[in-house]
Subunit: 366 residues, 2 copies
């Protein structure tokens, strides 16, 4: 970046954990080097906007936003940002929410020439009609960049896009895509025939903040299915099923049938021990084969299948030997990489690394 | 890419294994989608150039080049390409050589607005004066992109640049950066106290084409030192020594002192068995500690050191469990990633993946 680089006007929607961290990381770039003008912030209840006097203070933006009398108004924001787009000025909308409503705005923004950068998986893993509108709009309008939707700050989507764009043939993408599932099974299944009870591992994971408030929202596998949908659509092979949405992924939920409609996380945790035997038996069966259990996602181009579920891997496999904590690991099996896949591994969740993935995308606009 | 994307004029210098593969990959992009005009090819003995009638045939470029009467003339090429640079037209020079002479031209090209993309390590790991000229020229002129200088097509440099640009603090980069060294030690040291003789592993690696014709050119560690120099300069921390060139890296060569000036690879291989005991003892000592030997490169920002040499790692470490073949593995230890590093792994050499790294960089210009 140099002072000669064109300015990029940035609007942030969503100022929760990831949003706040993103704003702080962006404002940490020394102003003389920074190509970014932060012109708008929007929370669920308030908004501030000023393209003539950008937000520059990492210490006061929160109180400034809290003091604002203006309510969120995405159509008005759209009009303000559209007016800033010009051949010499770029505008980026950073969606740090997980909102479907915000995601539904992407085609409008892209068509107005506003680039959209986001860790929000909804648009890219939801209804195919919205996704196709986004692709169409990005061809003539703004760019959309969503590295942080899979693996947070890990180079997963950029790597896959490079493989595809340079003409490599994707054979299979296989990985542990959920930090929560990674933690649970790294603790639960180490290759030994016994170990801690499944319910206690889930309870501790919840206490550490690794699960959603209701653990069923992790154990249903939907987060993995959404990430697989995003990757499948980038692979865009005729050998793969055209996923109407993440619900089209063959996902094997870990929620016991009897617990499927438990309304609260507390109640779910209280009843989960009833199923400890079930999980212990699966662990023992895997151990008897010299294997561990891992909840993996697979985009199998060769066999035309996209699946999420519990699988067994030998204790010598990287999913067993190399994983720890709540790491993600993603293996790209391709024609050029042959017998030994390209592997990316590391923390795949958390505000700091997610915000970094978003900021990395924003830097691509400069 | 759309048909609306501005055209990029591309000149290729160096049409050996990587160069030929690059040309074929680039020409495989369907012409309607391709933003690239291949306007010049230069080998060590010949050149062809035509910006009005670009080279489009993957089947005839070799014979067309062989049939040319024109000798390589980099100053003339520079003039031709400079004339193509305009606000609406980009020009990229792809250096697929390993030549110091070609590398010395980068500042001239960059100053003329020509972007330089290359797997050639010479300029970025050589004299600091040339490197600083390149950095200065790229600030106002063309871009330089060198992903394929480290780890071939693996996302190593782009990942490091993103970490640095988004404000993460690099603590240590540690890896197996040489495919040759990876193969040799994956075969030689598996954690057991015995195994094949070092000389036989090197001889077989040479027969398979994994080493340079003279294996001392791998065993001296210079390739690793060059890659560490490239990464250190990107980290650009005041805590690190300012490397005058790759020769400033603390490199522990594996060439036995008595074999340091052996002129030919054949003679070197014939005499290497004299030192099998030496290497076997190191392997046994590592094994007694439950460790393997790996030739690693380390950019240790915390301790201000850049080193290349043989180190011992526990048999449970990813350098022991996860490596195979001639894989590279690179671990980024950073503040944001905390206790568990970001890891990139896979084939780090070979024409197909190296050319892919180069083409991936070229696509970033569009």
């Amino acid at each position: 970046m140099t002072s000669a680089a064109p300015k990029v006007y940035v609007a942030v929607v969503g100022v929760g954990l990831v949003g706040a961290e993103f704003i702080n990381q962006m404002l940490s770039i020394p102003p003389l080097n920074s190509p970014f003008h932060l012109v708008s912030l929007t929370s669920t209840t308030r908004t501030i906007s000023s393209h003539t006097s950008p937000i520059t203070s990492a210490t006061s933006w929160k109180s400034d936003l809290a003091a604002s009398a203006d309510r969120p108004d995405l159509p008005k924001l759209t009009a303000q940002l559209s007016a800033l787009v010009s051949p010499s000025q770029k505008v980026a909308l950073i969606d740090n929410t997980s909102s479907e409503d915000v995601a539904a705005m992407y085609p409008t923004w892209l068509n107005a020439g506003i680039s959209v950068i986001t860790p929000n998986k909804k648009a890219f893993s939801g209804d195919i009609a919205l996704y196709e509108q986004i692709i169409a709009a990005s061809k003539t309008g703004g760019r959309f960049l969503n590295e942080a939707t899979v693996g947070a700050g890990l180079p997963v989507i950029s790597t896959l896009k490079d493989l595809v764009a340079t003409g490599d043939r994707i054979i299979k993408i296989e990985g542990v895509f959920s930090g929560t599932m990674s933690y649970i099974f790294n603790e639960f299944s180490t290759g030994k025939s016994d170990g801690p009870a499944f319910s206690s591992v889930v309870r501790i994971a919840r206490e550490k903040g690794y699960t959603e408030p209701h653990p069923a929202d992790d154990l249903n596998g939907f987060d993995v299915a959404r990430k697989l949908t995003i990757l499948s659509r980038i692979v865009s092979s005729s050998a793969l099923p055209k996923l109407q949405s993440f619900a089209s992924v063959q996902t094997t939920s870990l929620i016991p049938a009897a617990l499927e409609n438990i309304p609260t996380g507390d109640e779910f945790i209280a009843r989960l021990p009833e199923f400890d035997d079930h999980f212990a038996k699966m662990r023992a069966a895997a151990s008897a084969e010299g294997k561990v259990l891992r909840f993996v996602g697979v985009v199998d181009v060769l066999n035309g299948q996209v699946t999420a579920g519990l699988e067994k891997y030998p204790t010598t496999h990287p999913f067993a030997t190399s994983l720890g904590g709540s790491d993600n690991i993603i293996m790209f099996h391709t024609e050029r990489y042959g017998a030994r896949p390209l592997i990316v591994q590391g923390a795949g969740a958390g505000a700091a690394v997610t915000a970094m993935g978003v900021l990395g995308d924003l830097l691509k606009l400069t």
